[in-house]
């Protein structure tokens, strides 16, 4: 009797297992793949290529810009005293921007080692400006807003003391002792591959008029650009 009950239970168990297997086999006729992804804000600042130094006396480009590489330019502007008879010592640094969103380019600067008298070279004696051109057709349409007056060597005049003054607001490094906006605009790039070279290239121009500044053997001027997504 016991043996027969055991046999019946085994049979029932096997049957149930077979039915379950059949049911599972019949349900597995579709499948799904679910993917999640993100497109983050992307803003990028790199060098736009070689810098241009003019009007210098004894200066040189120590570390030049290389297109599409991190911007880390080092330049010796040379003599800024009256023995330099050029109208301006002028440095043009191409800055390259790419983004998939609206951007804001900021700059902060410093001047050190020039002395501390009223005749010393100051941050207000270093002219600055951006000269962006209209965007080419291979970039996203949009208008960039230049917060600077452009080329600092245009305009300008002497003040009541005879010292050279750059024209307009935000036209010298004196306006950027703390980080400030220099350029803004809508997204730069169209929907192109990340390795596309299309970019917005803007010359950043620095200019100093040689004057009877106080002698200073080692002046250091630093400008740091940062681009952020709006």
């Amino acid at each position: 009797m016991f043996e027969s009950r055991k046999a019946v239970l085994s049979a029932l168990a096997i049957t149930t297992l077979l039915m379950l297997s059949a049911a599972v086999s019949y349900a597995q006729t579709t499948g799904s793949v679910t993917m999640t992804a993100t497109v983050s804000n992307f803003v990028e600042l790199t060098s736009g290529g070689a810098v241009t130094l003019t009007g210098n006396s004894g200066g040189s480009i120590i570390t030049d810009g290389t297109a599409n590489s991190p911007l880390a330019v080092v330049v010796n502007l040379g003599e800024l005293g009256p023995s330099n008879t050029n109208s301006f010592v002028k440095l043009s640094v191409p800055v390259r921007l790419r983004s998939n969103v609206g951007y804001q380019l900021n700059m902060v600067s410093s001047v050190a080692g020039a002395g501390a008298t009223s005749f010393s070279l100051k941050d207000t004696d270093v002219g600055f400006g951006l000269t962006p051109a209209a965007r080419p057709a291979n970039l996203a349409a949009g208008t960039d807003t230049n917060a600077t007056p452009g080329d600092p060597t245009v305009g300008g005049s002497t003040d009541v003391n005879g010292r050279w003054v750059f024209a307009g607001s935000n036209s010298t490094l004196g306006a950027y002792a703390v980080s400030g906006e220099v350029l803004t605009g809508p997204r730069v790039n169209k929907t192109v591959a990340g390795n596309s070279n299309t970019s917005l290239t803007v010359p950043a121009i620095f200019a100093i008029k040689p004057q009877f500044f106080d002698p200073a053997p080692a002046i250091t001027i630093t400008a740091q650009f940062t681009v952020v997504a709006l």
Partner: protein, 232 residues
């Protein structure tokens, strides 16, 4: 650990690595570092036209031109007793500019064809710097030190030697004998404010030379003066 969990862990690691690579590729800052120098600058130029007075037969051969290199040439004319003027004087305007303290020194030579003690010597050529002017836009105010006694024709700066009868410039550094080697004639603080070089202003001062016509030994005389400005 189940097999599927291990695969998920590997995929997650790959994703993180790829993300990290992408993040590193995105540069959002850049720097422009500039160095420069302002050297000491001192300059001497002509301050303008020369004024020659009391001369007899003399003339300005090469005149001074303001803001041009100083290269004046003057014929003082007759210095013997046939010239009845009290003094033959030449006023040569100098213009100095600097972005630092300066020292103006002078050296001179006097050569004469004469051979006796009555020939013209360096001591017979009076010298002094006149009124110093710091004026105009961009010129710094400051006190200059005149190491000469000023106009050599002033009565206080010379007289007839009571023993020899010869006229002598007697004041401190009042004749070229005091400048047979480079000697400071003028010094002072920074001249120009921070203004462009195109600003033509500066410190002007007349260099005054004077010779009293006397019974000098006849002959020809050449007087040469060189000014040098330095930044100490």
């Amino acid at each position: 650990m189940p097999h599927s969990s291990i695969i998920k862990l590997i995929l997650l690691s790959i994703l993180l690595v790829v993300s990290a690579v992408n993040c590193l590729a995105q540069s959002t800052t850049g720097t422009v570092s500039m160095s420069a120098t302002v050297s000491k600058f001192v300059e001497i130029n002509s301050g303008g036209a020369v004024t020659l007075t009391g001369n007899s037969g003399g003339g300005v051969t090469t005149d001074g031109v303001a803001n041009s290199p100083l290269a004046v040439s003057i014929n003082l004319g007759e210095l013997g007793p046939s010239n009845t003027n009290s003094f033959v004087t030449a006023a040569v305007p100098l213009k100095l500019r600097s972005n630092a303290a300066y020292v103006l020194s002078m050296t001179s030579t006097v050569t004469s064809s004469g051979t006796t003690s009555s020939r013209i010597t360096a001591a017979d050529v009076g010298f002094g710097l006149g009124t110093i002017s710091r004026s105009g836009l961009g010129v710094n105010s400051g006190a200059d030190t005149n190491a000469t006694s000023g106009d050599p024709t002033l009565a206080a700066n010379g007289s007839v030697n009571g023993t020899t009868g010869r006229y002598e410039f007697t004041a401190v550094r009042s004749n070229l004998n005091a400048f047979s080697s480079a000697t400071t004639a003028l010094s002072g603080p920074i001249i120009m404010n921070a203004v462009p070089r195109s600003n033509a202003n500066g410190l002007t001062v007349p260099a005054l030379f004077a010779v009293k016509p006397q019974f000098f030994e006849n002959g020809t005389t050449t007087i040469s003066v060189t000014f040098t400005v330095t930044a100490p």
